[in-house]
Symmetry: C2
Amino acid sequence: MNRLSLNQRTLGDRSLPEAVSACTRAGVESIGVWRGPLWAFGVERGAKLVAEAGLRVSSLCRGGFFTSTDRRSTLARNRRAVDDAEALGAECLVLVVGGLPSGSRDLPAARATVSEVLAELVDYAQERSVRLALEPMHPMYCADRGVLSTLGQALDLAECFDPDAVGVVVDTFHVWWDPDLERQLARARGRIASFQVGDWITPLSADSLLARGLMGRGHIDFQLLGRLVSEAGYTGDVEVEIFNADLWRQDVDSILAAVVRSYQEHVVA
Amino acid sequence: MNRLSLNQRTLGDRSLPEAVSACTRAGVESIGVWRGPLWAFGVERGAKLVAEAGLRVSSLCRGGFFTSTDRRSTLARNRRAVDDAEALGAECLVLVVGGLPSGSRDLPAARATVSEVLAELVDYAQERSVRLALEPMHPMYCADRGVLSTLGQALDLAECFDPDAVGVVVDTFHVWWDPDLERQLARARGRIASFQVGDWITPLSADSLLARGLMGRGHIDFQLLGRLVSEAGYTGDVEVEIFNADLWRQDVDSILAAVVRSYQEHVVA
């Protein structure tokens, strides 16, 4: 239970103060913060709020979208995201690397762009002690959200840098299907910056961005994945990140209760 | 143009005679047949109809669903599918291997089951000169349709058998995102039993089974994939397989015209 973190988006579009107080009431000690609600509340105020509540910040979501054609503004945006992660003292800044640039079908080129932009961002992040965390995205998001499609591919990229500078996110929803997962998790020792959990439910929801379920509602074996992540040496927070419109309609305390129950039954058990 | 094959499902639920006559009118020389409409018309009659129209049968869709818990009925079903492929003289029998068994979260076990059932089916197919074709499915179908998620994984399995007995299907929709695709296609020399084309369109349709578009409507680089498949030595038919509700609402000749145009502009060009 003390490793459970609530990713803020599990509460839908609730404000940062609502999320923080919900964590406190539920005894959750860690939070994954999103930049939208952080900025809406104010970065400094938000950092102070989280610190005073005694919460760890398991991740800041998110930077990335490196494949945008305007390289200069991409870097500027991402440096601001690094600043925010530093202000919060977040364990890492999650990077969703972006899909194909508009009108392009050149996937190898988009992937090369990701490497280039990452290389340009690393020094800035390292100077601020912010760990960048590459998130391999489920292949169904390859075209429009993230051209990093497997953990192996994310590790290939991360391994070009110091492990404290660049790690990876292991999100069960994105990686559970991968036939090479066991081997890649073994390889990920020292590189796992964030472990996120959420279930794959069927039928796939009409909005594929909202296709996640609480652990136990779907098809993922959290015992197996949790064990492999532990065997890779990861001892950090376990962040519950569920985008689900039905869940969001509930009140915050009900959501927290459901998250805690689902975590205890399926992840810890 | 003479390598273009029409997968029958590109016409929605039209009957086999409708599909055959549409091919004939459009000058399409090859067809991918589905078992549902084949049985509705009668297997022997259907085989005769296709032969008399002078069409090649690039594939029969489909056998598979090996992960069902009733092994005996799974094998019986698949032997009938082999019989149908033999009756048609189809280039291959496409195998969609099935998802997780109902209530199971044991993905490694489901994958092991696929290997076992395949091994039990191969002799029967080989005696009838029917080539089995393992279809890696997009990972978004892993839970409910196909636990073979990558070309590499399909090749690992196929390579346990003679290349004439077990090959693979390369369907652009299913494999285009794979960072390991170029390497796996090079490895697939002599194993490609079917090459299917269809585009990945965004946003993903509400029904994920109907998420495909005509070539050129989406994000896939057909020039690149076509070249890699050719370099792997494949010289067979190129089967256009589009599941798309908007397309299906058009009349058959309009669909055929759109298929031919899309093929000429994006696959052959």
